[in-house]
């Protein structure tokens, strides 16, 4: 049994909260005492429990009737553990959607059968694609409100498919649902005999998420373990999580900013020695030579394609701060465990997230996504996000407030 993390896009109006509520409710993930509270809160005439309230966490949000933040919800079936990132869909919360999208493997794009493809559908598809989500489920919701019409469904799907040339999804499933009634959510509906596929829960249970294979090793020292005890005087381990690829004992590696060649002589994982470790594993690496490495220093394998060493970075930035980005101001770039100082050297074009077009701009404001060039005080060892997402991303931190003000996706010309 493994985990699937997914995000549902859409607004309250599209039935997003109702769908999440339905998945949690029908998979018995809501406890009876929580149901009691929900029953009390339900204000909809003739409805016992308003399922959309399940995801509505904070009082501030209930007062305004919108989801402001990203909330995480959990449910399991016999086949899989699921983590839902529930993010708001409105354009003024693009930063929250980017945040939610950064942690997931799959997106459910909800489309209201009555309104069809909207600007929002395009925006959510574009953002998901930008953030490297490869799997999508396109769910035409409220199919009951168009009398379970196959024609209407096909019309919407055809229109969605016309957007595909811009998108980078590798797997897309389509289906009609009614989150409110439960059609094709947990079990197949007899109201849509023209739909041959499985219900949405089954699609989620069976969605295959493949870690990219054959990636070069990318590893950064997260924390140096150097016990003070006399018995472990010579112990010096470089702890960290493998960003991509694999590493084995006896591998020839290049380490640190001085790019020193050495050999891996021991790998520890979960308090035992192992011969090989792979992407996602927390390891402690030991090397043959006495090299002074610290947090943020990288490891690569001699045999692999090397990361790009650069003090000048081109990137797409998603801007999160209420204040606009400032040219020549110093920010901090946190690339996994390595933090360097950076100046915004150039502002490029702004990405129209609704239409996948670019336009000239001179400023970058809250929720904007744009191309920028950064100049760094120290070199980073990076990859382009599209080639190696794990080593191709960073966050931008305001040096003064320490707030996370932007997400960076590296995109350098080779």
């Amino acid at each position: 049994m493994n985990t699937l993390k997914f995000i549902t896009s859409g607004n309250v109006d599209d039935g997003k909260s109702t769908l999440i509520g339905r998945l949690l409710y029908d998979s018995d993930s809501i406890h009876t005492d929580q149901l009691g509270v929900l029953k009390k809160q339900t204000k909809v005439e003739g409805v016992d429990i308003d399922l959309s309230l399940i995801t509505d966490g904070l009082r501030a949000e209930r007062e305004q009737g919108i989801t402001i933040d990203v909330a995480y919800k959990y449910f399991s079936t016999k086949k899989r553990k699921f983590i839902i990132a529930d993010a708001p869909g409105h354009e003024q919360y693009t930063r929250n959607m980017i945040t939610g999208a950064s942690t997931v493997d799959l997106i459910i794009l909800l489309i209201d059968a009555r309104t069809g493809i909207t600007t929002q559908t395009k925006r959510h598809s574009n953002i998901a694609s930008l953030m490297g989500i490869k799997n999508a489920i396109v769910a035409v919701n409220k199919i009951d409100l168009v009398n379970y019409s196959e024609d209407r469904y096909n019309e919407i799907i055809n229109e969605f498919q016309s957007l595909l040339p811009n998108l980078n999804f590798t797997t897309i499933n389509y289906l009609p649902i009614s989150a409110f009634i439960g059609d094709n959510v947990v079990s197949k509906s007899d109201k849509t005999p023209w739909y041959q596929g499985p219900p949405i829960l089954e699609l989620l249970e069976n969605a295959e998420i493949n870690e990219p294979i054959d990636q070069p090793l990318r590893f950064q020292v997260q924390y140096v373990i150097r016990p003070k005890e006399d018995t472990l005087h010579d112990y010096r381990g470089f702890a960290g999580r493998i960003l991509s690829g694999t590493i084995s004992v006896n591998d020839a590696v290049i380490v640190g900013p001085q790019k020193i060649s050495t050999t891996v002589i021991k790998i520890e994982q979960n308090r035992v020695e192992v011969n090989t470790a792979t992407v996602g594993d927390n390891v402690i690496l030991h090397i043959a030579d006495d090299v002074d490495l610290s947090r943020g220093d990288h490891f690569s394998k001699v045999e692999d394609v090397q990361p790009l060493e650069t003090k000048e970075v081109n990137a797409m930035i998603s801007w999160f701060d209420d204040n606009p980005i400032l040219l020549n101001k110093t920010y901090l770039v946190q690339h996994q465990h390595k933090t360097v100082r950076a100046k915004i050297a150039e502002i490029g074009r702004k990405w129209d997230i609704n239409n996948w077009t670019f336009e000239e701009t001179t400023d970058i404001k809250l929720n904007d996504i744009a191309q920028i060039k950064l100049r760094l005080n120290n070199a980073l060892f990076i990859d382009n996000f599209e080639e190696n997402a794990s080593n191709g991303k960073a966050i931008l931190i305001d040096e003064n407030t320490y707030n996370t003000v932007g997400a960076l996706l590296f995109k350098n010309e080779n």
Partner: protein, 299 residues
């Protein structure tokens, strides 16, 4: 081929613990004696051995603990050989002239905040690692892995930093501190399955045993130095276990004959009521109770 979900959760937690050790000067691991913080200690062993923990453990002691929980705390601390700090809620109550909630089942839950904030200030802790999980409660569902608090310990849900991918921003100003939640993405069932998978030792309170209880609002409350039966009130000998280990004054026991991890896991799968709803006598006052307490600096 992808990993088992328990290994994925473990990987994430170890990563967060190491990130905390690397980014902060003076972290501390809050240890309650409950199953979630016992799991945290097990994870810390995996993250830092053969080195020592780069942080002490701290127990915020309400003075209303189960003796079994305190005994287990001391046993475990001794086993791992790490440093334990005890922050006393009773000291804070005297110092600040605080009163526990009135009534028969007095709660010092909210008062823990005073002892915690005092200890943070005295020891200059800049990061407190805790075992809170997002599935516990609605207000927790939006909690960050690194949650920044001001020097009043306050949490402002509207002003949280965005958390992208697994890149954690622990930069703070003097006076601020960060609450760190390595097992954010675990559910109650995940915790039990993990305990079973790694055969992690727990206080016997969690397993079925016989205990003298009184019945109150359909909940079983153990009699103790703090809770005495009223005149004419029936004391029953019941087979119970604890689903959460909080204060003796406000934690209800669950009738159960489950004495093995397998049986407990079975129980939890078929239980239709939440952990907090079933066991906390003090959490149901208002549906936003947790949100309010967190804003005031509660864990």
């Amino acid at each position: 081929m992808s990993k088992d979900y328990l290994d994925q959760l473990e990987d994430e937690a170890i990563y967060i613990l190491r990130e905390t050790a690397a980014q902060f000067e003076r972290p501390v691991l809050l240890f309650s004696g409950g199953k979630d913080s016992i799991v945290l200690i097990y994870l810390a062993l995996k993250a830092f051995r053969p080195g020592r923990f780069p942080f002490p453990l701290m127990h915020v002691d309400t003075g209303h603990n189960f003796p079994e929980a305190i005994a287990f705390r001391d046993y475990l601390v001794d086993q791992v050989g790490e440093k334990l700090i005890v922050a006393s809620v009773e000291d804070a109550m005297q110092k600040y002239n605080l009163k526990e909630t009135p009534g028969r089942f007095p709660s010092r839950n909210a008062l823990q905040t005073y002892a915690l904030l005092d200890a943070i200030e005295k020891n200059e802790f800049d990061a407190c690692i805790g075992g809170a999980r997002r599935d516990e409660e609605k207000a927790r569902a939006k909690e960050r892995i690194f949650s920044v608090r001001d020097d009043f310990g306050q949490w402002d849900p509207k002003l949280q930093r965005p958390e992208l991918w697994n890149i954690l921003n622990g930069k703070i100003h003097k006076g601020q501190n960060v609450r760190v939640f390595p097992i954010s993405n675990w559910t109650e069932l995940d915790v039990w399955n993990y305990i079973k998978k790694h055969n992690i030792e727990l206080p016997n309170l969690y397993f079925s045993h016989e205990r003298e209880c009184i019945e109150f609002n359909d909940k079983l409350v153990a009699t103790s130095a703090f809770i005495q039966p009223k005149e004419g009130e029936k004391v029953i000998k019941a087979q119970v276990r604890y689903r959460t280990v909080g204060d003796m004054t406000c934690t209800a026991a669950v009738p159960s004959t489950s004495s093995t991890l397998d049986e407990i896991i079975e129980d939890i799968i078929y239980t239709k009521i939440s952990e907090r709803g079933q066991t906390r006598l003090d959490d149901q006052v208002s549906e936003a109770a947790m949100e309010d307490r967190k804003k005031q600096g509660y864990f």
